[in-house]
Structures are given as structure tokens and as C-alpha cells.
Amino acid sequence: MSITWTRRRIAFRRFWASFRTQRAGVIGLAILLLAVLLAVIAPLFIDEGVTNVVSGTGEKLAPPSWDDPLGTDESGRSVLLMIWWGSRTSLLIGFLAALLSMVIGTVLGIAAGHFRGWIGAIVMRITDWFLVLPSLVTALVLAAILGGSTVTIIAAIGVTSWPSTARLIRAQTLAVEARPYIERSQALGGGHWHITTRHVLPNVAPLLLASTTLEVASAIVTESTLAFLGVSANKTSWGTMLRGSYDWGAATSGAWWYILVPGLCIVIVVMAFTLCGRALETVLNPRLRRAS
């Protein structure tokens, strides 16, 4: 046991040493860690009360001041505190929806690539069917039917965004399975489970990881879109704030802080995920690492 842990610690240290050389990735990771940390520790300082319309203490749509550093919204609530509290919902939905979509996409993608013939054909037709459904509309309909809770929003985003992952993973699986070491593994008695988990999965993992980070980014955007279009988890998120700014005419009344702050938050977090994804891909692929 201790040997295993020593090996893992060494492996992690080596991973960290090469990740550190990717400057953009480190910046992205720092932003992400900060965002997650702030979201996690938020309940120690504030509570859901900051999103309550009746407890807003400031002026209506007041510009940034010492009391409210990022201004207030239409009900006199502090935009800063709402952004802070709203990051919890946005990040949670982003992570879980991306995870759900990745799990579905990976399992079906590898299955379709590994079991060619009729199993693969059926899986791919189902994937195609989901792919041609306009995903935003489907997510809207699903969320509307299932009702607006956090879980249903996650399910709606996860269920509509997996087909592209499945296609990507299937293509990569086909490429990996054509390589001679798969034949070697079959020759030494490896079964389906052994080949898919030991050879295919590690080979598609860098792609998967990079794709996941991008998927988190797009899930956050989708959540904002759904919230902006009126289907939300009934909790304050960056998307619902954007919707609020639109509903209350923040643009026409010159309340730029109400639009810009949630928008910038989305952009920064999404960019941080993208930077991390690219750095991870470089680090995890032994050949790319050697080249750089």
C-alpha cells in the first residue's frame, strides 16, 4: 500500500512539475481555484438572503460606490454579493452537467468504436438522432417539462450535449483500435473490458480531458442561456442576473455594471477552463510533452 502511495506521490509531483511550465495553464488554474474557493467559502460570510428582493438595502440601479463596489440591481441588491452567491449555482451546474455529458459520451463512444457491427451501428444512430435535435431547444423543453430545479437543469444540459463527445471518442477509439498494440493485447488474452479500460481509455483520455474542460465552459454558457430565456433553477446564477439586467432595461438606463459584471464573470471562468484544458492536454500526452 505504502509503495503504491509513494509511486502516486512521485507521479503527481512529476505531473505538477511539467504543468508548472505551462504559464497560461497555471494562470487558468489559479483563476479556477480562486473561483471555486470563493464559491465554497461563500456561506461563511453571506447567505441566500443577499438574493432576497425585499432585503436589498441600496438604491435602485445605483452605480458602483464604497457601499456597493459593483453597484446594485433593480431591487437595490448588491451586484457583488449576488455574483458571489450566484457563482455557486453556475459552477455547480457547469461541473455536473459536463460530467454527466462526458460519462454518457465516453461510454457510448467507446462502445460504438469497440463493438463494431450492429451494436456500434445502433449506438451511432441514437447518437445521430440526438445530434440533429437542436440541443438548446431540447434542453429548454426538457427543463420546462421536468420543472426548474438544479437537478433537471443539469440533466437537460447533460442529456443534450453528449452526442458530439460520443462522436469524438468513437473516432478516437477507432483510430486507437487500429493500432497493433490492441492486436497484441488480444493475443495475450485481454478481453473487451481489459482492452477498453487499459488501452483505449488511457489513449483517449487526453482528448477527453481537454474536451471536458471545454464542455464545462459550454455548460456554464448553456445554463446562462437557459436562465436568460426564462428556464432556471429558481436560484440566482450569472445567467439569471443577465436576464434580470435585460428585463429591467439595464442597458437603456445606463446601468453597465449590471450587465458587464455577470458577463465578464462568465467569460473569465470559461477562458480559465479553456487555458487549463489546453495545458492539461500538453502535459498528459507524453509525445507532446517531449516535443515542447
Binding site: 495475450l188 488474452g189 500526452n285 509525445r287
Partner: protein, 319 residues
């Protein structure tokens, strides 16, 4: 009883344009501890033969006949038994070691793979075994932590050999183990294979298009042409079948002025397996073909010292 016995083995690929007979009625036997070389041009069916032994052919291949490995019929085995036999009783050294190794796994983990798949050793024990296997093929133990791209072609082929030895099989099938290696490394790898099979008492079935490689390593040779064995015999003796003779003559003798610029080799291509010539399949390219060759197909017949050949001329000479 022989370790490996092929009895009338045929492999046919079913493709859209019809059946392609790749191996046609091959019967061979391999004693324990013996090294048999199979030689032939590209497309003569020698690689198909090697893959058929462990049922590694794609689904569109139909195999008939019998493959007796250690007294068991491989073709009749259930899936679970077949997986157990793969590697534990017979392992393969593949051609092109460059691609036979998973680029994202460490060498050590890949050598340990058969041990763990067959639950022969625990992870702890497997690591010790990997170190000893690496030592046997002349690589330092720390190489277990390297990735395939950090090794040279010869080193990778050594790793493939270490992998083939992992489960202490009785038979190693080497499918062109020295292709794409330079001659010095090729010689090293061949010497290594020779030493290892001698010290472990393993049987070897080596497939190659390179007669010099096989003559060096194997006790016996089988020459394949268009899916058929046309000659078998000890590797020291001289060939009787005109195809084998042409194959042997195709090698230049370096440093011999007389052999320079002398015509050698055969014109034409091996026949299309979907349109095989009548009679002896070799007759269109045969320099000594008789009229009867285009109608009569000859099976393997004794041709002197432990040698058999499938040619009409052979019978006339030995009678």
C-alpha cells in the same frame, strides 16, 4: 507427440468480391524445443497462418482443418479457454515493434500486462518479474519506467521479446521480428532469440520473407507459395523445389564478383488468390515447368534427407 500440429489448415477471407483463399491445406508439425521457419513472398499466407494459430484473424476469415496445440484443438476451444491459452501457452512477437507498444503506457506496465491479465502474479511480484525479464533481453531494470518513444527500434523489439517470455510459454510465434531493423540490430535480436529459446527450451515458429534470417535461427524451414507449403526440410540442406531455389538465389552474395549483375529472382507476381492458375500454382513463373504442370497439382512428397517438396521433378529425380 508434437507440441504444435497443423492438419489441413485452410483460411479463407470472405470479402465483397468473393472468397479469397489465403492459406490452402497446410499441414505442419513442430516438436517441443524445435525452431521452424516459414518463408514466402508477401501475400503467400504466412502471416495469416501465424495469426490463425491463436484465432486472431478478423471476423471475415473462415478457418478449417485442425490446429492441435499441446494436444488441444485451438479451433474447438471455448472463448474463455482460448483467452487462457493465448500468451500462457503460445505468445507472439509481432512485426513492427514501433507500433506494437502502447505509446502512453510505461514499458514495465506493458510487460507486466500478460502477467496481470492471466493473474499469474500480483502487482508486486510482476514488478520483480519485469526486472528479470528486462535483464534477460539485455536491458537495464530502470528501463521499465521509460515510455516506448524513448527507446530505439532494437530496444523496442527486445521489449516485445521480453513480453513474449513473460508467461513462460511453450511456443513463441515470431512474425517478422526483425523487419525494419538495421542489419547489426537484426543480428543482435536474432542472437538473443536463439539464446533464449535454447535456454528456456521454447519452441519457435518464425515467419519471415528473409531466408537468411530464418536459415540462421531455425532448425527446419517451410517454404510457402500462394497459401500452400511447397517445401519443408532442414535449414542446412539444399532446396529441391524450383520456387525455393529461386528464392534462395535471389540473395546477392556480397563480395563475390561473379554474382554481381547476374540475373536473379523471378519475374512476375505471386498469383491473385481469387484467380489461381490450374495445376501447380507456380507453373506460370516456373523456369523448369513441364507441360503436365498446368494440369497436375502435386502434393508434398519425400525429396531426400527429411525433406519434402511439391514438384513433379522431385519425384523423377529421387526415383
Amino acid at each position: 507427440m508434437s507440441l504444435l500440429e497443423l492438419d489441413d489448415l485452410s483460411v479463407t477471407y470472405r470479402i465483397a468480391s468473393g472468397d479469397v483463399p489465403a492459406v490452402r491445406g497446410v499441414s505442419l508439425s513442430l516438436e517441443a524445443g524445435e525452431a521452424l521457419g516459414v518463408v514466402g513472398e508477401s501475400g503467400s499466407g504466412k502471416s495469416t497462418l501465424a495469426m490463425a494459430l491463436l484465432r486472431l484473424l478478423p471476423k471475415d476469415a473462415r478457418t478449417s482443418g485442425r490446429i492441435m496445440l499441446g494436444g488441444e484443438d485451438v479451433l474447438a476451444m471455448k472463448w474463455g479457454r482460448l483467452r487462457a491459452v493465448r500468451w500462457a501457452e503460445a505468445s507472439i512477437v509481432f512485426q513492427g515493434a514501433q507500433h506494437g507498444l502502447n505509446p502512453v503506457q510505461r514499458i514495465g506496465d506493458q510487460i507486466a500486462e500478460p502477467l496481470l491479465v492471466h493473474k499469474i502474479a500480483t502487482a508486486e511480484k510482476a514488478r520483480e518479474r519485469v526486472a528479470s525479464l528486462l535483464a534477460q533481453v539485455g536491458l537495464p531494470a530502470w528501463r521499465a519506467r521509460s515510455y516506448p518513444h524513448e527507446l530505439s527500434g532494437g530496444q523496442r523489439q527486445r521489449v516485445m521479446i521480453a513480453m513474449a517470455l513473460a508467461c513462460e510459454p511453450q511456443l513463441i510465434i515470431a512474425d517478422e521480428p526483425t523487419t525494419a531493423l538495421d542489419l547489426m540490430v537484426q543480428a543482435q535480436v536474432l542472437t538473443l532469440i536463439k539464446e533464449l529459446i535454447a535456454s528456456h527450451g521454447i519452441s519457435l515458429l518464425m515467419i519471415s520473407h528473409d531466408l537468411s534470417v530464418l536459415a540462421d535461427t531455425c532448425d527446419r524451414l517451410a517454404v510457402m507459395y500462394a497459401g500452400r507449403v511447397v517445401e519443408t526440410g532442414p535449414s542446412g540442406g539444399s532446396f529441391q523445389h524450383p520456387y525455393s531455389q529461386a528464392l534462395a538465389a535471389a540473395f546477392p552474395t556480397v563480395g563475390d564478383p561473379a554474382s554481381r549483375l547476374a540475373p536473379r529472382g523471378l519475374g512476375g507476381d505471386p498469383p491473385d488468390p481469387q484467380r489461381l492458375p490450374s495445376g501447380c500454382v507456380f507453373h506460370p513463373r516456373c523456369p523448369v515447368a513441364l507441360d503436365t504442370c498446368s494440369t497436375v497439382e502435386v502434393s508434398l512428397r519425400p525429396a531426400g534427407d527429411r525433406r519434402t517438396a511439391a514438384c513433379v521433378l522431385v519425384l523423377e529425380e529421387s526415383c
